[in-house]
């Protein structure tokens, strides 16, 4: 079991056929995690002991004939999800000591489905970042080239799946935090429709944009895992009460008659020419599979980055107010008074990027600025949503690049937040409109992976997974493994 792990689907088959036990599988992954940790830094916490215990329970359940299709499959959770009795840091010093007293709804959903948690994955602090360099626990490295960033904020999830040190990982996406690292690490990422997965127990960054999702090797794996983490949650008023289909049931559906829309604004001058070529190659594969391609336009989409950087910081400035040193998390030593407690606890507990966004958000919500920034951004957000809605009248799914370039060097964009923010230029629109989005591997540029982005109408996850799966049956980009982790 030390060879590169195959897919969740293959592991599930192996477990079902008795080729190996969950304990054996879990132990093998724990070994791979330990071996890769010095070079990748993908984990913040490894829960080896409880993983082996859960694996033994899974094996017992299987022996008793009570196994589901995911029973005994190990996975990793992004450290943004609360896990009972386990350190939950959100990549921040602020929560460096926070042991959650409860499980996030998606964590309990995946546990109930039989998965085994291997540990908690590194991430940008409070999910604010596109390179995983803002983590208090140090940057995660890209398994394809450890000098490169893995993307962010779900950098630990993407890097660990790419290096096959976990079979699959949960992740979250507020402006591209699943799709962008999936693209930069050459793995499959899905951000479901806003409201599809409960946000309860997922530490909030920007509540109207945050959505839980998955990073996996294949679309089929994502289809297997998405069901147990989807559905209405009475504890999340923004979760949607609509039935959850079996996402695996339609994976093989034909693509005859599918109309793909190429978003003109995604193929702008910022897009690297070699990357564009890989995207065009992928589209050609779809044409062979029977899809029709047409160009569509979302004219307001170029406004998505400035819109996002008003809305997201505004919400985060309020969401992060609860970290005040009073009830949990970091508290400064011997505060002199209340103000000192607040100022030093927060000053010490938050990193620079988080502070930048809290200050930006506080500014845009302030009296006298609210209309010019927050309210205007909300209006633009409506326009962007309307653009998408119009585009979906002309096509079934939108295609484009996930990122303008492949992974960049660690440290290259740290001093220039605007350039860093522009890395999410193609992904933010889906968050603003609440749409589901995917990134699937579609080739390499200079040895680094490139992602094809698929954006669909609300609740079109089944169709998107079907479309991604059919591509992955024609190509093997998603099965490529970085040589250092082969």
């Amino acid at each position: 079991m030390s060879a590169p792990a195959p897919t969740v689907a293959a592991l599930a088959r192996g477990l079902a056929e008795g080729a190996f036990s969950s304990v054996e599988l879990t132990r093998a992954y724990l070994e791979r995690i330990a071996a890769a940790q010095p070079s990748l830094n993908a984990f913040i916490t490894v829960t080896g002991e409880s993983a082996l215990k859960a694996a033994a329970e899974a094996d017992a359940a299987r022996a008793a004939g009570r196994a589901g299709r995911l029973t005994g499959v190990p996975i990793g959770h992004k450290d943004i999800f609360c896990t009972e009795g386990v350190l939950t840091t959100c990549g921040s010093k602020m929560l460096g000591n926070f042991v959650s007293p409860y499980d996030a709804t998606i964590v309990s959903g995946l546990r109930a489905a039989g998965t085994v948690m291997l540990g908690k994955l590194n991430m940008d602090e409070f999910a604010m970042g596109s390179s995983n360099e803002t983590s208090h626990f140090g940057p995660v490295r890209n398994p394809w080239d450890t000098q490169m960033v893995p993307g962010g904020s779900s950098g630990g999830s993407a890097a660990s799946v790419a290096a096959r040190i976990v079979p699959a990982a949960t992740a979250t996406d507020t402006g591209g935090s699943i799709r962008q690292p999936a693209a930069l690490c050459g793995v499959t990422g899905i951000k479901p429709t806003y409201g599809r997965c409960s946000r309860y127990g997922m530490i909030a960054f920007a509540s109207s944009l945050d959505q839980a999702g998955l990073i996996t090797v294949s679309a089929e794996d994502a289809a297997l895992l998405l069901g147990p983490m989807s559905g209405f949650d009475p504890r999340d008023s923004t979760s949607v009460d609509s039935p959850v289909p079996d996402y695996t049931a339609t994976l093989g559906d034909s693509l005859q008659g599918l109309t793909i829309g190429l978003v003109r604004e995604f193929f702008d001058k910022g897009l690297d020419a070699a990357c564009e070529q890989r995207i065009r190659d992928a589209i050609a594969v779809y044409e062979k599979l029977g899809a029709k391609v047409r160009e569509v336009s979302c004219p307001n989409l170029p406004l998505s980055v400035p819109t996002y950087y008003v809305v997201a910081p505004a919400e985060c400035s309020s969401n992060l107010a609860r970290f005040d040193g009073v009830r949990f998390g970091h508290r400064c030593d011997s505060p002199k008074n209340l103000l000192d407690l607040y100022c030093r606890s927060r000053g010490e507990g938050f990193g620079a990027e988080v502070k930048r966004r809290i200050m930006t958000g506080t500014y845009v919500l302030s009296a006298g600025y609210y209309d010019a920034y927050y309210l205007k951004a909300q209006r633009v957000r409506q326009l962007i949503s309307a653009d998408f809605a119009r585009a979906f009248k002309e096509c079934d799914l939108l295609f484009g690049p996930t990122t303008p370039t492949p992974a960049f060097r660690i440290g290259a964009k740290c001093d220039d937040p605007i350039t860093m923010y522009l890395n999410d230029i193609y992904t933010i629109g889906a968050n603003l409109a609440g749409l589901p989005g995917m990134s699937i591997p579609c080739g390499f540029v200079d040895g680094l992976p490139i992602g094809l982005q698929i954006v669909g109408p609300h609740f079109s996850e089944a169709r998107m997974l079907n479309v991604a799966h059919r591509y992955q049956q024609e190509t093997d980009w998603h099965l490529k493994t970085p040589s250092a982790f082969a």
């Binding site: 999800f81 609360c82 939950t88 959100c90 929560l95 926070f98 959650s100 007293p101 409860y102 996030a104 946000r199 309860y200 127990g201 997922m202 530490i203 909030a204 920007a206 509540s207 109207s208 009475p234 504890r235 999340d236 008023s237 923004t238 505004a314 919400e315 400035s317 309020s318 992060l320 107010a321 609860r322 970290f323 005040d324 009073v326 009830r327 949990f328 998390g329 209340l338 607040y342 506080t362 919500l365 302030s366 009296a367 609210y370 927050y374």
Partner: protein, 478 residues
Amino acid sequence: MEWETVIGLEIHAQLATRSKIFSGSATAYGAEPNTQANLVDLGYPGVLPVLNGEAVRMAVRFGLAIGARIAPHSVFARKNYFYPDLPKGYQISQYELPVVAQGSLDVVLDDGTRKRVGITRAHLEEDAGKSLHEGMPGMSGIDLNRAGTPLIEIVSEPDMRSAKEAVAYMKKVHTLVRYLDICDGNMQEGSFRCDANVSVRPKGSDKFGTRAEIKNLNSFRFVEKAINYEVERQIELLESGGKVVQETRLYDPDKGETRSMRSKEEANDYRYFPDPDLLPLVIDDAFVATIKASLPELPDEKAARFVRDYGLSEYDAGVLTASRELGAFYEDVVRRVGRDPKLCANWVMGDLAAFLNKDNLEINDSKVDAEALAGLVTRIVDATISGKIAKDVFEAMWASGESADAIIEQKGLRQITDTGAIEQAIDEVMAKNPGQLADYRSGKDKLFGFFVGQVMKATGGKANPAQLNDLLRKKLSG
């Protein structure tokens, strides 16, 4: 110069839901600190609010009762500020789009005039916790049991012109929320409290003066005292050439004065924005209609009915409808006696109210219940005892818990209606007082009262007054 006072009130009424507005924790008062605060109330990372539908129903009940518009679409907003008893660093409230808008209430003032007070809006919000400073030297304690308790904040127009008017309005709201069963109205526990916005202006001016906001007044007496103090302070300030500054003030009941808490410049910028964790609150006509159908008879309707059906004065009707329980008690008495509702009203508002007051009891804890009081009034109506004797009987009933009939029997208080017995008493009195009899017969009519008194004395006050009058008149005239 003559000054006019302008007052607007923001009343906070805790809604009597069993659980909190955004979590399942209990709302009961008085539990051990932090035993009624779950992860949502504590503002833990990752938790989310879920709106309690019962709080919405209660807010709509209130809106309908004040003839307000129920917003088909209202929005919860975050009011951002840091304080240790505010766990999330923001309070979930409603800002631009409240659930209830544009209502009014009529209040009857002491001089009997009626005044309409506009209610700008009423919105739903969560209460904060409490900071405890006593008994913890060098530290502060936080009790989050109250955090997340549902409140309705009722904002009036600046329509009141005196502290008395403000109190009358506040009492009316207090009556109403209890009628509607949406608030227990317990002011000592903070379930019903208000902030008063107070300003003064030269009489006749149509511009408002600069106002001060007096925070957290939790008794009618404090409201009246604080406003009166504040009005005097502002007038003195203005008359000595000073200026009123817009600020928040606190009332100190021990010193009987208000003092500055923070000025406008120091005021928080609350950075309100719609709470992305909660969907807009959508209320449809059917929901409103269902609630409308379930509303109880409201105080004004009930008072009008008492005037119409029982022939009471508006004042009496107002007193008897001040609480739903009192109105119910009164009607219970009337129903049992079956006649003379005015006499029933006099007893409820008179002796009964006085005894309740003396023992500091609520009507539902009265030592003489409606059945017992009806028994007493019936004995007055059927002339078994006189109204004067009834007062003694009532006192005995209050002390012993026994029925009127039992006490009348035991003490032999039954009126003498036997003509022979009364005549005999009259004969004896006439025989004992020949001088007065002669004077009366020679034209001193005023002596009639003397003879009534003597016969009453002789019968221990039990002679039926009407019969006594008749018989005495006949006998005296020979």
